[in-house]
């Protein structure tokens, strides 16, 4: 396969880079319910590439929400870009989120905005003039293969196109880490391979990547670190 050549060239997570995330004995429960995540300890270095996998309901999305700072742990220590999660204030959260790109499973594109405007949204909310980012957005849309679809509204896009638009939106601010929740869940295998290639290319350019998936075929195409969640516990295979 084409991808086997690419995979052996990558030595994901084997370089000792500074850490983006560090989890130490992290546990999480909803209300008074049982712990969804138990004693999670992991490190995600800069420029690393890893899959997060496990059976449905194992807590992949919950772990991603912890990584995206949308949840706080019940116990344990999370360090984000060297800062203790417990000490991050509400005012600091937007600034940190801009360093983390997220691709949601359901895309979360705004239907009244074109693909171009959806992708440009993170820059627009920072108050930047459109002329200062127009070329960047157009280049990125071409890069993800949506150059011809930039003025189309999301309801007209196919599932794969929406997925790529969501990826482009997550990348436009050049985040230090990209979190993708089942990015190939709604696309056919050829498009899944194309998306994976996008993520690998992005990682080569310096962004750490975490892909939550239970698509074994996808994972077999890349020799990357695997984090396997099962019964709320995490096993990491470098």
């Amino acid at each position: 396969m084409v991808w086997s050549d690419a995979s052996h060239q990558l030595s994901f997570a084997k370089v000792s880079n500074p850490l983006v995330f560090r989890f130490e004995n992290v546990g999480l429960r909803y209300g008074m319910g049982p712990e969804i995540l138990r004693d999670i300890s992991l490190e995600i270095p800069e420029r690393s590439f890893q899959f997060l996998t496990g059976p449905s309901g194992a807590g992949k999305t919950t772990l991603l929400r912890l990584l995206f700072l949308a949840l706080k742990p019940t116990r344990g220590l999370i360090t984000v870009f060297g800062k203790d999660r417990a000490r991050i204030t509400r005012r600091e959260l937007p600034l940190l989120r801009r360093r983390i790109g997220v691709v949601f499973q359901d895309f979360r594109l705004l239907d009244h905005m074109t693909t171009y405007e959806n992708v440009a949204l993170p820059l627009r909310i920072r108050g930047r003039e459109e002329s200062s980012y127009r070329n960047d957005v157009v280049d990125l849309l071409k890069w993800v293969g949506l150059g011809e679809r930039m003025h189309v509204l999301p309801p007209v896009l196919s599932g794969g196109e929406k997925q790529r638009a969501a990826i482009a939106r997550a990348l436009i601010e050049q985040p230090e880490i990209l979190l993708a929740d089942e990015p190939t869940g709604n696309v056919d295998p050829p498009l899944a391979r194309r998306l994976l290639r996008l993520f690998i290319e992005l990682n080569r350019l310096g962004t750490a990547v975490v892909i939550a998936t239970h698509d074994l075929t996808l994972m077999e195409q890349v020799d990357a670190r695997r984090m396997i969640l099962s019964d709320g516990r995490l096993d990491v295979y470098d």
Partner: protein, 338 residues
């Protein structure tokens, strides 16, 4: 910059690999040639309904405000017109030279500070006053009819009525002074009651408007929850999100309130026009006796403008607090696990 970052040779290769095989379904267009969509969608069904609700409630509030303003102005005119005059009444008694007594009464009254003039109601005018009851061709000498002196008073510095009354009765025993105090007091009480009732209705109307606008705005905001969430998760600060919604709903509220306010003003102008067009007809006389000339005056127009601005501001404030609450709920969901 993203542009330079993504336009590497590798990126070019990735572009070719990732580009969809299907042909384009939309013609490419320069991004600069398009008007940027607002972050909050301009119109939807809930937004249009909100404009209608705001327009209707503003219209009703402005009508109520105008009506209260009309009643208040009319009541104050009643008060001032009645208290502008006092009447000296001289009853005919044996041995009284009525004409001399009338002249004396007018002279005594005119001598008091605060009296602008004293006018004797002459025999012809008195006969006209009695004509509806006693018919025409009345000979006043045949009947013991009291005669009147109308005293015009300076409203700003009225005379001392008690002293005037004792001066009159000391010289003309059958004279009496009616300063209309009892009548004015009753009229003032009635006018104040009417204005108070009007103000109470206005307060109820504004309360109903406030509640309607708040709930309609919250209803319109319900459809925007996903926008707040997306903005939040792409790193927008709370004040940015709140400002976007505030601006959008301020404009929505202003549109609705302006329509309602302008319609209310048109109604008042139409009534004023009808009133002036039918001047001196029995219908207009009756209406103007009750409501004056249907002009709400400068204070009424200022009131309408204030209602419009307050309702627009209320809509914006409601959207602001709804955004703040939504963001708090998102943040609280972070704590749900704690």
């Amino acid at each position: 910059m993203a542009g330079s970052m993504f336009m590497t040779d590798q990126a070019e290769a990735a572009t070719r690999a990732a580009a969809p095989a299907s042909p384009s379904r939309a013609a490419p267009m320069g991004a600069s040639h398009r008007r940027t969509s607002p972050i909050v969608p301009e119109q939807n069904v809930a937004g249009r309904a909100l404009v209608f609700v705001i327009a209707i409630m503003t219209f009703l509030s402005c009508l109520t405000l105008g009506a209260v303003s009309l009643v208040r102005d009319t009541a104050s005119v009643w008060e001032s017109q009645i208290s502008r005059e006092a009447t000296i009444q001289i009853r005919p008694v044996d041995g009284l030279d009525m004409e001399q007594a009338l002249a004396d009464a007018a002279r005594i009254a005119s001598g008091f500070a605060g009296v602008l003039n004293a006018r004797i109601v002459d025999r012809a005018a008195t006969a006209r006053l009695l004509e509806p009851w006693l018919g025409s061709g009345l000979d006043l000498d045949e009947l013991p009819v009291p005669r009147l002196v109308v005293v015009r008073i300076d409203e700003t510095a009225p005379p001392d009525f008690a002293t005037m009354r004792s001066a009159l009765t000391s010289q003309i025993q059958s004279a009496s002074l009616d300063d209309h105090r009892t009548w004015v007091d009753r009229l003032v009480a009635m006018a104040h009651t009417t204005v108070t009732i009007g103000l109470a209705v206005l307060v109820l109307m504004l309360s109903a408007t406030t509640l309607s606008v708040v709930f309609a705005t919250r209803g319109a905001m319900d459809g925007n929850g996903h926008i707040i969430e997306v903005l939040h998760f792409v790193g927008a600060e709370a004040r940015f999100i709140a400002a976007e919604f505030r601006r959008h709903f301020l404009w929505t509220g202003l549109k609705g309130a302006l329509v309602g306010g302008v319609l209310a003003v048109l109604v008042f102008l139409a009534f004023g026009w009808w009133s002036s067009r039918n001047f001196a007809t029995p219908e207009a006389d009756q209406a103007s006796a009750l409501f004056g000339n249907f002009a709400i005056g400068l204070s009424g127009y200022i009131g309408v403008a204030l209602v419009v601005l307050v309702i627009a501001a209320l809509t914006a404030a409601t959207s602001h607090f709804t955004v703040v609450r939504s963001l708090s709920e998102i943040d609280l969901s972070q704590q749900a696990s704690s």
